[in-house]
């Protein structure tokens, strides 16, 4: 039975709170997560971060144990597959070492020096997720480790995960590309298109507006040099259905290499390598990607 007692001020208060909530949502949409909303986000995360990090030390072993128990059968199969992969990798390593020795010899011979990988990398632990419905990842590295808003994030294999949405001194929030409202500019073969998230699936939709040739199952999807958010050539996923251009537009399904909800470790790339130092203090913004101190404008391309 519903309570029929005098309601006091609860109904007007609820209506006021809903109006306030809608206003906040509208502000957030209009400001694209920046401005006052961005400051509030960073402030709250700064306050919660120490408690969260302390708690994660205690709960991580428990989480690992429960997760392992629930995936025991999968772990056995994964273990067998990993042993096989390790044997194959060890065999190919011998070949690579030979090639490296030859390369070094040739470099010495011609007085050359190979260009190094200039992109800095920060390995971070995933220490939390806001709730079951929010795909964002919270990591244990922040501005004190050189992480800044807008930087691209990959997994330990170099596959694209997402971008840094907001950052505090000791933590950062990552938005996976599957949850990003902005499309990601990618390249399939020599064609450039956009990768868009879809409802109720972790597959993404590839859209090429000036398609010249079909894409085939197994074609690899890489980040494009046109992208303002990611360095070119990072693997994103693979095309899972053949698709031909209709007039000059092509749509295809793409399966991502990374499943964000299973990640425990990520790598934040210091990209672009020469970020612009913001006047607001310790936050450094990557060039071309953001106009605010806490959010990125997405791919922006």
């Amino acid at each position: 039975m519903v309570n029929r007692e005098p309601r006091g001020h609860t109904l007007p208060l609820l209506v006021s709170l809903i109006i306030l909530g809608v206003l906040l949502m509208t502000f957030d949409v209009r400001l694209q997560g920046g401005g006052v909303v961005g400051v509030l986000r960073t402030g709250t995360q700064t306050i919660i971060a120490p408690v969260q990090q302390a708690a994660s030390y205690a709960v991580n072993p428990v989480a690992d144990m429960i997760d392992s128990l629930s995936n025991l059968s999968n772990l056995r199969e994964e273990n067998i597959a990993l042993r096989r992969e390790l044997a194959e990798a060890e065999a190919s390593l011998v070949g690579v070492q030979d090639q490296l020795a030859r390369l070094e010899h040739l470099e010495q011979l011609y007085g050359m020096e190979a260009a190094g990988d200039e992109i800095g990398r920060t390995v971070a632990n995933v220490i939390g997720r806001p709730d079951a419905f929010d795909a964002a990842l919270i990591i244990d590295k922040g501005t004190s480790d050189g992480v800044v808003v807008g930087q691209p994030v990959v997994d330990t294999n170099g596959y694209v995960v997402g971008t840094v949405r907001s950052v505090t001194r000791g933590s950062a929030t990552i938005v996976p590309i599957t949850a990003d409202r902005q499309a990601l500019t990618v390249m399939v073969g020599d064609q450039i298109g956009s990768l868009l998230s879809q409802v109720a699936t972790d597959e993404m939709r590839l859209e090429i507006l000036t398609a010249r040739e079909p894409v085939l199952v197994g074609d690899e999807v890489l980040t494009s040099a046109v992208s303002a958010s990611f360095p070119a050539g990072l693997p994103v996923g693979v095309v899972i259905e053949d698709a031909a251009p209709s007039i000059d537009v092509l749509n295809a399904k793409v399966d991502l290499f990374v499943k964000p909800d299973t990640l425990r470790l990520v790598v934040v790339l210091a990209w672009p390598p020469d970020p612009i130092t913001a006047s607001s203090g310790e936050t450094i913004l990557p060039a071309e990607t953001s106009t605010t101190s806490t959010t990125t404008e997405g791919d922006g391309s």
Partner: protein, 167 residues
């Protein structure tokens, strides 16, 4: 010495937020919404309804600020769920099983509202690959936790050893 009720509630809510984002953020098989659970259970205490609504709104705001979704989304959902909880709490006051069921139904209303309002505001990421499973699993997990922890929670907040002792 008896601690102020506001401090107890704030501490419990902070604890719920931290456990939600750390422990349950990493265990995929168990997916309760602890903050929503605390908000619902607050309706069973002797705290003024206006304060329950305020606490629900603020805790939703904190979860929004910690995540990537729109600011105000969970605040609206939690406040609405708290209001429905306040209006229907007599249904839960008859026994532990009733508390569990009541919590489960309210959580179901909450997650459906979250998905609906989120979708209206363009939060398509809420409709991820596991959305159907989550709409069922989150209320079920809260139902179990509500049945187990509900009476203890009310006794703790109200400082009464006799509250919610079902015969």
């Amino acid at each position: 010495m008896r601690l102020p009720k506001g401090l107890i509630v704030a501490t419990i809510l902070l604890f719920a937020v931290v456990i939600q984002i750390t422990l349950f953020g990493q265990i995929r098989i168990i997916a309760p919404d602890l903050v929503m659970l605390v908000v619902i259970l607050l309706a069973l205490t002797r705290i003024r309804p206006e304060l329950v609504l305020g606490a629900a709104f603020l805790s939703g705001l904190v979860v929004d600020l910690l995540g990537s979704s729109l600011l105000g989304l969970r605040a609206i959902v939690f406040a609405t769920v708290a209001y429905i909880a306040l209006r229907t709490k007599e249904r839960a006051e008859i026994g532990r099983f009733a508390v569990a069921l009541w919590v489960g139904i309210l959580t179901l209303i909450g997650v459906v509202l979250l998905v609906l309002i989120g979708t209206l505001f363009g939060q398509t990421s809420l409709l991820g690959p596991n959305v159907t499973r989550l709409i069922l699993v989150v209320p079920l997990a809260n139902l179990l936790l509500g049945g187990l922890l509900g009476p203890v929670f009310v006794r703790l907040v109200d400082g009464s050893t006799t509250a919610f002792r079902f015969s």
